[in-house]
């Protein structure tokens, strides 16, 4: 753990504070104040992200530090889409999730702020769409898992939302094509970079596990409809757990290191 006493660090902390304040304001029914503060948080996150882009001299999605920074910037966009496009509110939880996502970038010493040059393999036109598809998918699936917890608990933990099952389904419908896009683009890129589209690398295997969990979710959904909702919700949570392993454990656990360890 460390404090990052730089301009970049200051912007991360400011974003975290704004997200927490926005989340609490929304939770306490000060919705207008909450949205204004959330917008300020997004502005701060975007500025921080663009500053990083200029500082690193490449699209900021190479290191884990940059990945968390990008996730924190993408989240309010997905939250707004969820609220106004998919009728899945609970924006206060999104804001708190945003602060939690930025925590590793702001405080974990291992995710160092020092920018790195892109090695030859990462200089590909597929780098940005591959990573951004995954970032957006991860945020959507994280939100889906939060909603699924509401379904599993069977009581209204999130104010303003009644049908957790349907909201979970909508968020997974949003995230799954992006998850598929990230997987396919990564595979295509591997073919162009090193010859095989699949290497059985730990990160690849866990990304396949994540994808298959959601495939299982959809098969249950299409077979059973809204029957067995709790089991489907459990799969949504399991899917997020697999995503967390894909994103973090593969980088942090020496037993799972492989082709993708350059992201550390």
């Amino acid at each position: 753990m460390e404090l990052k006493l730089t301009l970049q660090g200051a912007m991360i902390y400011a974003t975290m504070v704004l997200y927490v304040v926005a989340g609490l304001a929304m939770l306490l029914k000060f919705r207008r104040v909450g949205w204004v503060v959330a917008a300020a948080g997004f502005l701060c996150a975007s500025t921080s992200w663009l500053y990083r882009w200029a500082h690193a001299d490449h699209f900021p999605a190479q290191t884990m530090f940059e990945v968390f920074l990008t996730l924190g910037m993408v989240l309010p966009l997905l939250s707004a889409l969820g609220r106004w496009g998919l009728k899945t509110p609970a924006s206060w939880a999104d804001m708190l999730l945003g602060a939690a996502i930025l925590f590793p970038a702001g405080f974990v010493a291992r995710f160092a702020e020092a920018p790195q040059k892109l090695p030859p393999a990462l200089q590909s036109g597929l780098f940005v769409p591959h990573v951004m598809a995954y970032m957006a998918a991860y945020v959507a699936m994280a939100k889906a898992a939060i909603l699924a917890v509401g379904e599993i608990l069977g009581r209204p933990v999130l104010p303003g939302l009644v049908d957790y099952d349907r909201a979970t389904y909508r968020m997974i419908c949003l995230g799954f094509p992006l998850l598929t896009l990230g997987l396919v683009l990564g595979s295509w890129w591997a073919k162009l970079a090193i010859g095989d589209f699949w290497h059985w690398d730990p990160k690849e295997l866990w990304s396949l596990v994540s994808w298959l969990v959601y495939v299982g979710y959809f098969h249950l959904r299409y077979r059973l409809g809204r029957r067995g909702r709790k089991f489907q919700a459990a799969l949504a949570v399991l899917g997020l757990a697999a995503i967390v392993v894909t994103l973090l454990a593969v980088t942090l656990l020496p037993a799972l290191r492989g082709w993708h360890s350059y992201a550390d």
Partner: protein
């Protein structure tokens, strides 16, 4: 099953996981899975009424079929069906300005020897270049155990990052190091020269500009040195120094040394090796090439932490000595015994690679049929294979590149599967719900 196997196999490492998933029981499983996927089109006629679902399933079946066809077993099957052997994977070594059609074929298992195959066409390497980032340091920082001797020095070397970095533990020392920044400290271009120094102390006794006829008298040695010949590409053939073919830079100077006793001695000063072998000669004489202005970051700031103390230090590179050194024992008094001999050493290195470029031409009966600059992420596709730049080097025959050669069997099916899967997923989960919502049916909550 695939979920459980994938999760478990992730702990095996990529190579062993690949062996597991390509083993015979799982090969049968993949074939059965593909067959079940195909049967699904008949068993579930609903699929045909939903283009999105149909495309998703067709995509998965195509990816599975393509993967099987591209696997080692798939290649064996293709060979039996067509009677034509097509190696799945291998390598080619091609020298600059030369052509080759010989491919070293990857053995199907580690206990089998690699074999060679001839392609129906040749690849000619017209040029090979490495692009480097201009704004990365051209020096390497390593932690080295200077108390060890000979090969042991290599064994205890730790590469430290090129760019400002996180804290890194130096094993066995309790010391952590972090690169803070590299500095430009040499404002002048340094011309090529021959350096004479004492091997043990590192003291530089003299420098001679790298010009024929230039020389130096060293009264403390009672000796004089004169450059009698210069080489751009130094080679020794039959015990004689000769100028090699142009294109490769391996400079050296022929030196005549007169020690005032007996006849003058002639020897060759070559570039200084990083690790000098043990030598009885107290003098070290080497050729130091020119250092252009933009190759001159020559100092580094590092932060060191030991038992809660953190200190910033600067290590300067001495161009004539060839490196900069800072013993840890000079910084911290109470280091453990095993750490006393460890130094941080700044060594001449090379800037970080940005890209490798191999400009190749495809020749059929001596005629150029295709040409391409192979870069990372931009392979050459020709004659049923993809060619990837993977390594390079140089030896007495010149500069060469090593290309990885991969059969393209199954890739068309896999690529089509990717497109179908993406189309189906987005169609079913994004466009259909949006269309339904626009027609006033609301966003679907299920099938």
């Amino acid at each position: 099953m695939v979920i459980v196997l994938s999760a478990a196999a992730s702990f095996l490492g990529a190579d062993r996981a690949a062996m597991l998933f390509r083993s015979w029981p799982l090969a049968i499983f993949w074939v059965l899975l593909t067959v079940v996927g195909i049967v699904g089109f008949i068993a579930f006629p609903r699929l045909w009424r939903r283009p999105g679902l149909l495309a998703m399933h067709a995509g998965v079946v195509l990816i599975l079929a393509g993967s099987i066809w591209s696997s080692p077993t798939g290649h064996q099957l293709a060979e039996r069906l067509t009677g034509r052997a097509k190696p799945r994977r291998g390598w080619m070594r091609i020298y600059e300005q030369q052509a080759s059609n010989i491919m070293a074929v990857e053995a199907s298992s580690p206990d089998q020897p690699a074999t060679a195959a001839r392609l129906d066409f040749s690849l000619r390497l017209r040029s090979f270049t490495i692009e480097r980032y201009r704004d990365t340091p051209s020096w390497d920082l390593v932690a080295m155990n200077m108390a060890a001797a000979g090969d042991e020095i290599q064994a205890s070397m730790i590469d430290l990052p090129e760019t400002p970095s996180r804290w890194i533990d130096l094993p066995g020392t309790g010391v952590r190091v972090r690169v803070d920044k590299y500095l430009d400290v040499h404002p002048m271009r340094i011309d090529p020269r021959v350096v004479i120094r004492l091997r043990n102390s590192g003291q530089v006794l003299g420098k001679i500009p790298a010009e024929v006829g230039a020389g130096i008298d060293l009264p403390q040695l009672g000796a004089s040195f004169e450059i009698v010949k210069l080489f751009e590409n130094f080679r020794i053939e039959n015990g004689q120094a000769v100028e090699g073919p142009p294109g490769r830079y391996n400079p050296a100077a022929e030196i005549r040394a007169d020690f005032g006793q007996g006849d003058p001695v002639t020897f060759w000063a070559r570039r200084r090796a990083r690790q000098d072998p043990e030598s009885e000669n107290p003098l070290e004489v080497y050729y130091a090439p020119a250092v252009p202005l933009d190759e001159l970051p020559g100092a580094i700031f590092v932060e060191l932490e030991y038992q809660g103390q953190t200190q910033m230090y600067r290590i300067d590179a001495d161009y004539d000595a060839g490196f900069g050194e800072m013993p840890l024992a000079a910084v911290f008094d109470d280091l453990p015994a095993g750490a006393q001999g460890i130094s941080l050493v700044l060594l001449p290195g090379q800037r970080m690679v940005k890209d490798y470029l191999a400009d190749v031409a495809v020749l059929v009966d001596g005629e150029v049929r295709s040409q391409k600059t192979i870069e990372v992420n931009h392979p050459l596709g020709y004659g049923g294979y993809h060619f990837y730049q993977v390594d390079h080097g140089s030896d007495e025959r010149g500069t060469y590149t090593i290309l990885s050669v991969v059969s393209d069997n199954g890739w068309l099916a896999v690529r089509s599967g990717f497109v179908a899967l993406l189309f189906g997923t987005f169609w079913q989960l994004w466009f259909v719900p949006v269309l339904r919502a626009r027609k006033g049916k609301g966003v679907a909550g299920g099938a």
